[in-house]
């Protein structure tokens, strides 16, 4: 069945971006169009999610070419929930950008590029063709290059060189993997690949191809030996950009890993062990990096790396319970990491610095705002009823069932270090008396009008509310991740929906 509805989240961002190009210098109009566009995409994403949830997998064949020959777009529960979470984060960042990004940046195309980036993300989540996934990845990285360098300060450009080199390298590995995959199977459609890859006799060639995919997606999602570009570039752009990067860009790599390794290459013992080793090392290096950093955004960057390990570990365990834990963590992480970088931006507006040594006294000055931020930080740590807690139960359960005690130990260490660095940050930034220093810049936040203040605080409150819902409404989220995990363990409905036969 042709279902053109599912392409709407991609098309709506495209139209928003094109419309924004016509308002190149008029920043007020750009802000309004961007927020409206993100809101429309959010409505479309909610509609898509409810349709997929009620009616099962939706498929669209581009230009009506039948499945293995044309480009297929597929929305299963996994894709549509990723699109939904991206739309939440996108709306929050649109709102925050309206007040938190300098006017000069807006005049050089900040908003159009932001929407091209979001379009690329939605496209990557919805495509059912491996080469098309590559093209969406390129849309994402070229937009992210522009967002990262917009402004052209020295630190930004230096961070961009590292980011660019490793991301292009990742794309090359990914392309090599695609080439080999086409060579051994003769198809690019993911559902068709799912049927043909298990039939290949030469298993070593399949494993080598799988390694190329791990390398490519691993660089993009900042997995252990290849994560260096992330902490050395994510602290340089404006906070709204860092929020999109931290919340969504690494997660699209995780999405691709989950998609490829549950559909095309079913992990054998070798790949599983490899993924678990990578997960343990990612968690440890990320958490140790977070301990030594005294700049808020650098610390959050290392926390991203640390928490990526939790999801890779869940994939490496490869049981239904483990996938449920990893997916739950993924959902929680997308919202919370976006919010953390927005909070860092807010603190920067209030104090003019992100160095913890120079910060302090925020709780005395903004008690209600601090309580809101405390909710987010508690969710990040995973204080029981909040959102970071539930996925770990599933991960522990799966770890004990398969006897992977080292991974369990790593997750516990990662959680403890998260607790330690976040409580230290709370003490330094919120409770400590502000250091007496005449050179400290004035409070830009205080001088803002009520409209701008609302634009800065609303997205944080909005995302905090979603985090609260993920934690307190864990029952509903569990139902979603359980369905996704069962779809991953048994891919026949996906294949049948795409190829239209049993």
């Amino acid at each position: 069945m042709i279902n053109n509805y599912l392409i709407l989240p991609v098309i709506a961002h495209l139209f928003t971006a094109v419309l924004l190009l016509f308002f190149w210098r008029r920043t007020v109009a750009q802000r309004i169009i961007s927020i409206a566009g993100s809101f429309i995409v959010l409505l479309a994403a909610i509609g898509l999610f409810t349709r997929v949830w009620n009616n099962g997998i939706l498929v669209m064949q581009a230009a009506n070419w039948e499945a293995p020959f044309g480009i297929t777009f597929v929305a299963d529960v996994f894709s549509s929930s990723m699109v939904l979470l991206t739309s939440f984060a996108g709306l929050a960042v649109s709102l925050f950008s309206a007040a938190g990004v300098a006017r000069a940046r807006m005049q050089y195309g900040y908003f159009p590029i932001l929407h091209f980036l979001l379009m690329g993300l939605n496209g990557a989540f919805l495509t059912g063709d491996i080469f098309n996934l590559y093209v969406w990845f390129e849309v994402i990285i070229i937009s992210s290059f522009v967002l990262l360098t917009l402004g052209g300060r020295k630190a930004q450009l230096e961070g961009a060189v590292k980011y660019m080199a490793l991301n292009i390298l990742a794309s090359t590995f990914f392309l090599t993997g695609i080439g080999m995959l086409y060579g051994i199977t003769g198809t690019l459609n993911m559902a068709d690949l799912a049927m043909k890859v298990p039939l290949v006799g030469h298993r070593i060639l399949v494993d080598v191809t799988a390694i190329f995919f791990i390398l490519g997606f691993g660089i993009k999602s900042a997995v252990f030996p290849l994560y260096f570009w992330l902490p050395s570039s994510y602290h340089t752009p404006p906070s709204a950009v860092a929020a999109i990067f931290g919340g969504l860009l690494t997660k699209v790599g995780i999405y691709a890993l989950f998609r490829v390794f549950t559909l095309i290459f079913i992990p054998d013992d070798f790949i599983r062990t490899l993924l678990i080793i990578l997960a343990v090392l990612t968690i440890l290096t990320g958490s140790f990096g977070a301990i030594i950093k005294r700049n808020i955004r650098r610390m959050f960057s290392y926390l991203i790396v640390c928490h990526i390990g939790f999801m890779i570990g869940g994939l490496g365990l490869f049981s239904e319970v483990a996938l449920m834990g990893a997916l739950f963590y993924l959902f929680h992480d997308m919202i919370i990491k976006t919010n953390l970088f927005l909070i860092a931006g807010l603190i920067r507006q209030q104090r003019g610095t992100m160095n913890m040594e120079k910060l302090g006294g925020l709780y005395a000055e903004y008690p209600r705002l601090s309580l809101l931020i405390a909710i987010v930080l508690f969710s990040l740590i995973g204080i029981p009823p909040l959102s970071g807690f539930w996925p770990k139960i599933y991960l522990f359960e799966a770890g004990f069932m398969t006897g992977q005690y080292i991974l369990i130990a790593a997750i516990i260490i990662g959680s403890l270090v998260t607790l330690y660095v976040v409580s230290r940050m709370w003490a330094d930034v919120f409770w400590k008396r502000a250091p007496l220093d005449d050179t400290s810049p004035e409070d830009r936040f205080k001088r803002m009008g009520i409209g701008k203040k609302t634009l800065l605080v609303t997205p944080i409150a909005f995302l905090a509310f979603i985090s609260l819902y993920i934690g307190l409404g864990a029952e509903n989220i569990t139902a979603v991740v359980q369905r996704i995990a069962s779809e991953m363990m048994d891919t026949t409905p996906y294949i049948r929906a795409v190829l239209g036969k049993s």
Binding site: V135, F145, G151, G152, A155, T172, M180, P238, G352, T353
Partner: protein, 118 residues
């Protein structure tokens, strides 16, 4: 013909990776370009190098009876070349801007101890 292309592809990959390990930014860029071309040739090779065998089915036959030149890898390479062109031109401009700012071609000089920004 194929063996020549295989050797060429191996050389491109090897040279690309060697260049990536250098400290110079220009060599980094060249390495990225060489790797991209290596990947393109890999895909091209997988589409079977055959001369004068278009993928057109005879009127009498239902399926291909003979070996044929697969058009899909060629379409993939075209896409990859266009994307690579765009990204590489961005990379060249970026590296030029960085060179103007830090006045050095050495990747080790990219570590300004900056602290505070936007």
């Amino acid at each position: 013909m194929e063996i020549l292309l295989v050797i060429l592809m191996g050389l491109l990959y090897a040279a690309g990776i060697y260049m990536l390990f250098r400290r110079s930014m220009v060599k980094l860029l060249l390495g990225i370009m060489l790797l991209g071309n290596g990947a393109n040739i890999l895909i091209f090779l997988l589409g079977r190098i055959t001369k004068g065998q278009p993928p057109v089915i005879d009127e009498a036959a239902k399926v291909f009876t003979d070996i044929y030149a697969d058009p899909i890898p060629q379409a993939l390479i075209l896409t990859a070349i266009v994307i690579g062109f765009g990204i590489q031109s961005f990379a060249i401009v970026l590296l030029k801007r960085v060179y103007v700012l830090i006045n050095s071609d050495d990747l080790d000089d990219l570590n300004t101890p900056e602290d505070e920004d936007i």
